[in-house]
Symmetry: C2
Subunit: 428 residues, 2 copies
C-alpha cells in the first residue's frame, strides 16, 4: 500500500464536519477502496473554539487558510469555505502555487474564476475537482465528465436548487402563497444568508454554467446564463398549471444550437407525470442527454452534510487512486469560447392572463397571437365572479421572438387586466 | 499529447458496431477528452463478410479472438462477444496473459469468472472494466465504485432487465396476458436466444451480483442470488396490485444484514407513485443507497447499440486517461467472502387468493395469518359471480419465516381454490 493521502480542510461548517466524520468513521473501508490511507493533517476555520461535537486535537490548526494550503504535510487542499472571492480564492490560489491538488464545493468561485484556476493548476500538473459543487450527493460531474465521455452531449437540464423546489412544491401541496412559504423556508434555515442566491436562481445558475462547460467543451460562461428567479411565481400559476397537467420548476437548461450556446435558469413548466415533474421537496434531479446514451436521469439529495461530504470524498478518493481528470473534462486551455445565444429553441409556452369581460375580448387575444405567428394548442377560460376571467393558453411550439412580438401587443388590446404571464414549457 | 490508445474489438454485433461508429464519428472530441487519440487496430467477429454497412478495411482482421487479444498493436482488448465461457473467456484470459487491459460488456462471464479474471489481471497490473455489463448506458458502476466510494452502501436495487419491464408494463397497459406479450416481445426481437435468461431473471441476477460485489466489497456470488422470474405473473396480479396502489417489477435487491448478504431478483410490488413504480417499458433504473449520500436514483436506457456502446467508451476513455480502478472497486484478492443470507429482511407482503364462498372462510384465513404472527394492514374482497371470490391482503412487515409458516396452512384450511400468491412489497 502506498503512502497516505494527506488532506488540509479549510472550512468546518456542515460539509467540512461531514467530511471529517466520514474519514474518522470509515478509515479502513476508504483505504481498501483508495489503495492507501486517507488522513487529515490540518484544518482551518473561522473559530477554533466553537463546539463542533468532535475533538479536533488530532489535527494541526491554522487560523489562516492560505497557510493551511501551503503546508508541507498537505497533499490535497479541501476548500469548503465558500464565497467566490476572498479567503476561498486566495487559499485555492496558494494551494495551486504550492503544487497541491484541490477539491472544492465552491460553485460560485468556479463559475467566476474556474478558467483561471484550472489553467493555473493544469500548468503545474495538478487538478481541481468539484463534484460537491453541483447537485450535492448526486455524482453528476462524474457521470457527465467520465460516464458519458463518449457522447456528444445534446442537452443538460436540472433542478439544482433544493430550496426553490421545496418552495414550489410546498406552495402547491399546502396551497400557500410564495411569501408564506418563503418565510417558512427562512425559519427552517433553508435559505442562504442572501436568499436571492437561492430564489433568484443565481446558485443554480452557477451549477448550470459548470455543467455546460464540461458538456460542450466550452469555457464557463456564467455571465451568459439567462437567469430568472421564482419570486414572481404565484399560487394561481401553480394551481392553473396543475390544471393543465404541468408542474412549475426552476429548471436549468443548457444546449448547443446553431446560433450558439443557450444557458437558461428559469421557471419552466414540465409535464406533471415526467420525472422532473414528480420531483418533490429539496431533492435535486439532473438530466443528461447524449447522442449515444440517450437520456440519463440522476436524482438525489442536493444538499446537506452527508450528501455533500459524500461528493467531496468521491473527489478525494479519485485523487488517492491517481485518477487525474482535468477540471472541465479536457485541458482548460483547450476549451472553446462559446458564442452565447439568447434562448431561442422553439418551445410551447404557457400564457396566463386576466381577460376583461367584454364581447370579442377573446377574439382580440387570439388575433394578436395569430398575427405574431403563434398558434394555440389548448385554451381554457375559467368561470368567474369578478369582472375579469382567468384565461390559460398552451401554444404550439413558438420562438421567443414571436412571443416577444406578441406580449406587448396583448397588453395593447385593452382587454387584459394586468400583464400576461408567460412561462416556457420544456420538452422533457 | 501522448501515444494513441489502440483497441482490439472482438464481436461486431450491435454493441461492437456501436463502439466502432462512436470512434469514427467523434475522433477529435474523444482525443480532446482522453488526452490522446483512441484508435482501433484490429477487429474480430464470427463472419468477416457480413454486410455491416461500414467498411472494416481500415482495421486488421483476426478470425480468432484469442489471436486478436494477443496482438502487439492492441493495448485494450474490448470483449463484446458474450457468453460466460467459450471464446469470450479464452480471449479475455489470453489478453490478460499478454498484459492488456480489458473492457467487456459480458455480465455472464464476470458473474461466474470475475474473481479469477480480476485476480489474474491485477497480478499483472492491468484492469478489467465492465460498465456496459450493468444497466446499459447508465453509468452505474462508475457512480457506485467511484461516485459513492466514500459511502458504506446500505442497499442496492434495480430494474435491470428491460425486456421484463417491457412485458410487465405492456401487460398492464394493454390488458394482455403474459403469454400474449411474451410472444409479442419475441416477434419484436426483444428476447435473448434463450428467453429464460430474460424472463427467468438470470440476466438481471448476473448484474445484481456484480453490483453487490462492489457495493459490499465481497466476492461475486451469483450462485447465492435467489432468483424468481416473471413467468408466473398474471394479468390479474397486475390489475389487482394496481388497485391497491402498486406496480409489479422484476426488482433486484442486495443488502448486507447481520445474517449475511441478501441478494434477490424477483417480482416485487413497489408503490405506483415511486420512481421505480413509474418506470415504463425497456428503461432501466438503479437505486444506490449510501450512509452519507442517501438515496441516489439513476435511470436510462438499459440496452441498445448507442447506450451500451456509450458505456464501453466510458471504460475505454478511463483507460486512455490512465484511470485505473480495480474491477470490483478494491483489489480482487482483498474482497471478503460474504455469508449468503436467505432474504429475511422483514417486509410487507401482498397475498392474493381465491376464497370459497363459505360462511367463516375469511375468518379461517385471518386466523391462520394471526397464528403465524402476521398482521393484516389492508384487505380487500372483490364482488364475484363465480363460486370463489378474489381476496387481496397487504400485510404489515413480516418475516419470510412467518410467511413460509402461513402459506401451507392457508392451503390446509380448505377454503381456498388453488394456491395463494405471495409477492414481497419492497420499501423503496
Amino acid at each position: 500500500m502506498s503512502t497516505p493521502l494527506r488532506l488540509g480542510i479549510a472550512g468546518l461548517g456542515t460539509v467540512g464536519m461531514g467530511v471529517l466524520k466520514i474519514i474518522r468513521r470509515h478509515g479502513e473501508m476508504l483505504a481498501a477502496r483508495a489503495g492507501r490511507a486517507i488522513e487529515i493533517s490540518a484544518v482551518s476555520a473561522r473559530s477554533r473554539d466553537k463546539d463542533r461535537g468532535i475533538s479536533l486535537s488530532a489535527y494541526a490548526w491554522e487560523d489562516d487558510p492560505v497557510a493551511l494550503a501551503r503546508r508541507e504535510d498537505v497533499d490535497v487542499f479541501v476548500e469548503l469555505m465558500g464565497g467566490s472571492d476572498g479567503p476561498a480564492k486566495a487559499a485555492t490560489e496558494a494551494a495551486i502555487a504550492a503544487g497541491k491538488d484541490v477539491v472544492t464545493a465552491n460553485k460560485a468561485m468556479l463559475a467566476i474564476h474556474g478558467q483561471a484556476l484550472a489553467e493555473a493548476a493544469e500548468a503545474k500538473g495538478h487538478v481541481i475537482r468539484f463534484e460537491a459543487a453541483v447537485a450535492g450527493g448526486i455524482p453528476v460531474m462524474k457521470a457527465l465528465t467520465e460516464g458519458l465521455a463518449g457522447n456528444e452531449i445534446t442537452r443538460v437540464m436540472g433542478v439544482m436548487n433544493g430550496t426553490c423546489n421545496y418552495i414550489l412544491t410546498r406552495m402547491q401541496g399546502a396551497g400557500l402563497s410564495y411569501d408564506e412559504v418563503f418565510e417558512e423556508a427562512r425559519r427552517l434555515g433553508y435559505l442562504e444568508a442572501d436568499p436571492t442566491l437561492d430564489v433568484g436562481g443565481i446558485d443554480a445558475a452557477h451549477k448550470l454554467a459548470l455543467l455546460a462547460s464540461v458538456a460542450f467543451g466550452t469555457r464557463v460562461a456564467f455571465d451568459a446564463v439567462e437567469i430568472e428567479g421564482i419570486e414572481r411565481i404565484t399560487i394561481e400559476d401553480i394551481h392553473q398549471a396543475a390544471d393543465m397537467g404541468f408542474r412549475i420548476k426552476l429548471l436549468g437548461v443548457a444546449q448547443m444550437t446553431a446560433r450558439g450556446l443557450e444557458q437558461r435558469m428559469s421557471p419552466c413548466l414540465v409535464p406533471a407525470d415526467s420525472p422532473l415533474g414528480q420531483l418533490e421537496g429539496g431533492t435535486n434531479m439532473v438530466v443528461l442527454e447524449g447522442d449515444s446514451a440517450g437520456q440519463i436521469v440522476l436524482r438525489g439529495a442536493g444538499a446537506g452534510e452527508g450528501p455533500t461530504a459524500s461528493a467531496v470524498m468521491s473527489d478525494v478518493i479519485d485523487i488517492a487512486r491517481h485518477t487525474r481528470i482535468p477540471t472541465f473534462g479536457q485541458p482548460a486551455r483547450s476549451l472553446a469560447t462559446a458564442k452565447p445565444a439568447r434562448a431561442a429553441t422553439p418551445a410551447p409556452w404557457y400564457l396566463r392572463m386576466q381577460l376583461e369581460d367584454k364581447p370579442g375580448a377573446l377574439a382580440r387575444i387570439a388575433a394578436v397571437l395569430g398575427e405574431s405567428g403563434i398558434s394555440i394548442n389548448r385554451m381554457r377560460q375559467y368561470g368567474h365572479e369578478e369582472p375579469t376571467a382567468p384565461v390559460l393558453i398552451v401554444t404550439h411550439k413558438t420562438t421567443r421572438e414571436a412571443l416577444d412580438h406578441a406580449l406587448p401587443r396583448l397588453g395593447d388590446t385593452g382587454v387584459l387586466a394586468g400583464e400576461p404571464v408567460a412561462i416556457r414549457i420544456e420538452d422533457v
